[in-house]
Symmetry: C2
Subunit: 96 residues, 2 copies
């Protein structure tokens, strides 16, 4: 079953550019290194301090591979410095 | 610029099966008829009455084509009967 994730992230005001730089690096690393990841995009919203990662995985193993990857661990940590609290995560099971 | 939409929908409890039937029909109609739509999936969440459409469009014209399509208008209306209030829409601009 294809799995999805929507991760909504609040960024400290004034840290948007720094956050975007690291988050874009993460998106590119995922796109280049995770064959089980079908989609991984960084997105701006209508709110200047809110960003969304839109993610889609072939299966649970692909999600585990993502979470265990060096790039997610290191860049995820780096991103944390610019974030205003933990992300709001929606875990999705694709129906159609 | 690639645009994204995350539409979070609350369904009346007990109407999940009926909602899923119409919403799946809509997802399939979009996938079959909208070349500008890069992704359109119906997803379950961890909450039994909450569903999410994950959507991605080539550009603003593709979003307009979607909204103006017969399938979206007719099936969107049909879905409304099973929904518990309006959808919560996140409009996204893809950065990476």
């Amino acid at each position: 079953m294809t799995l999805g994730v929507v991760a909504k992230i609040k960024v400290k005001d004034g840290q948007q550019a720094a956050f975007e730089a690291v988050a874009s690096k993460l998106a590119k690393a995922v796109q280049a290194n995770e064959p089980g990841c079908l989609l991984y995009t960084l997105n701006k919203t209508d709110d200047p301090v809110t960003y969304v990662f839109m993610e889609r995985y072939k299966d649970e193993d692909a999600v585990k591979a993502h979470r265990g990857s060096d790039h997610f661990r290191s860049l995820g940590k780096e991103m944390g410095a610019f974030m205003d609290g933990p992300p709001e995560i929606l875990r999705l099971n694709e129906l159609a």
